[in-house]
Amino acid sequence: MGNTLENMVEVKGLKKSYEQIEAVKGVSFSVSKGELFGLIGPDGAGKTSIFRILTTLMFPTEGIVRMMDLNVIKDYKTIRNHLGYMPQRFSLYQDLSVEENLEFFARIFGTTIDENYDLIKDIYAQIEPFKTRKARKLSGGMKQKLALSCALIHSPEILILDEPTTGVDAVSRKEFWEMLIRLKEKGITILVSTPYMDEANLCDRVALIQNGKIMSIDTPEKIIGNFGRKLWAVKSDNVYQLIQDLRSVNTIDSVFPFGEYLHITVKSDDDNLTDLITILRGNGHSGIEIQEIEANIEDCFMELMQ
């Protein structure tokens, strides 16, 4: 089913309230077949609420949500058969072994490990040597691989991953994204949420989300292209002092640390900061560097927040 559909996911005017709190405040987006789509934002932005509605686990308060052109309220049983979901706290059975967990999920969906082994082979092979070990005894990285294998065992059309890399070290994060990109190449539509802004660049399209609202939705390149103002990187030998000094320059708009540099925007883009080096030298700074740079996704996110 669904092979000819352009939009695998379609969300229009979605709202979700929990008593007085409005967690999702009117969100619209669509995801086409084979796309790797990212929901990028901090805790409390509404990412998990949106995913729980998409996976038919929770009703929307308002709005229309269609998965594979099916209605999430009426057609939830059909949708679930074609959906893989990896929640943030992986829903593994702690007292079942690696293999028993996988078998359990396969049987629920009326399939077998053998039938879809090809799809999970790359991932499962890494934990297969430990297949008799109980899930609770696995390391974080191994749990993550098992949970992903379980979410894939029924060969879903759409895979939804809620913050799969939160709290995971930089090496494991990189490996996880390589797995996702291989799955995408197999034609699976993937929706993934993350608080790590740098992971946006690995998605085809992203929605930047904050306080229940999508601030921007586009390819990472276009979001960066829309930054719309000049951005400068500045450093000196005393970063702490440099932050204070730059904030007291009244032509400067924002000052944020970014790794070893500070990123600054200026109130008027005609200002080429020609005087800045003199000002900073006057303040006793040494090792001063100032250069114009291109924004990254995190710069864009912060600009949109203000």
Binding site: G41, P42, D43, G44, A45, S139, G140, G141, T166, G167, V168, D169, A170, V171, S172, R173, K174, P195, Y196, M197, Q210, V239, Y240, I243, F256, P257, F258, G259, E260, E298, F301, M302, M305, Q306
Partner: protein, 243 residues
């Protein structure tokens, strides 16, 4: 940070074994007063084990560990009095108010009521949280909780504060506000010992140590590490060491 400052943490040949498993394999390093020291490593590299020893919660198998002038074998209670600790799952009481949490921690560290009261007033002003002092912690946004948790961790003026992934999950502006609090604490002479998975945050540290499989494989300023590993940024340094 002052290059000539005294050492506030001294670790020599620290080994910690669990059965045959060597979680910390001859760690040796020093951290100076007021330094921001980044303690990085892959999941399972042995960071948490080391932090538990440094904070007096667990004994080393062998080696010398001196924290704020006290020996972790013989003077564990003194070690604990002189450090602060904040973890990602920070230990604020959700069903106490902001003010009650501050008072509770002040009490645990044996500070006098008068001192707690005075310091609470100045802290509430500094955090600009006077208006919300009587709200329950559970009702506050994550970023505010993190700031309060950090303030509580240094309320008793410790010599060292250990921060275990303090900035997980918050938006990028709040994350940077938090780092400014760290800079400020360091400026006031508190040594900051911090773990993080954000590699840009590694750049904010004075020096960074990177652990892999129980050993320290890199230890220097971010600039020197990038030179040493011929890397553009700390992300690359980390991948070269831990992959």
């Amino acid at each position: 940070m002052n290059e000539n400052a005294e050492n506030i943490i001294e670790v020599k040949d620290l080994v910690k074994k669990f059965g045959n498993f060597v979680a910390n394999d001859h760690l040796t390093f020093e951290v100076k007063k007021g330094e921001i020291f980044g303690f990085l490593g892959a999941n399972g590299a042995g960071k948490t084990t080391a932090i538990k020893i440094l904070s007096g919660l667990s004994y080393p198998t062998s080696g010398d560990v001196n924290i704020a002038g006290y020996d972790v074998y013989k003077e564990r209670e003194k070690v604990k009095k002189n450090i602060g600790y904040m973890s990602q799952r920070f230990s604020l009481y959700e069903d106490l108010t902001v003010r009650e949490n501050i008072r509770f921690y002040g009490g645990i560290y044996g500070l006098s009521n008068k001192y707690i009261k005075e310091k609470t007033e100045s802290l509430l002003d500094r955090l600009k949280m006077r208006e919300i002092q009587n709200l329950l912690i559970s009702s506050l946004p994550l970023g505010w909780k993190q700031k309060i948790a950090f303030s509580v961790a240094i309320f008793h003026d410790p010599k060292i504060v250990f921060l275990d992934e303090p900035t997980g999950g918050v938006d990028p502006i709040t994350r940077r506000d938090f780092w400014e609090m760290i800079y400020e604490a360091s400026h006031e002479g508190i040594t900051v010992f911090v773990t993080t998975h954000y590699m840009d945050e590694a750049e904010y540290c004075d020096r960074v140590s990177i652990m892999d499989r129980g050993k320290i494989e890199g230890l220097d300023t971010p600039g020197a590490l990038k030179d040493q590993f011929k890397a553009q940024n700390m992300d690359e340094v980390f991948l070269k060491i831990a992959r």
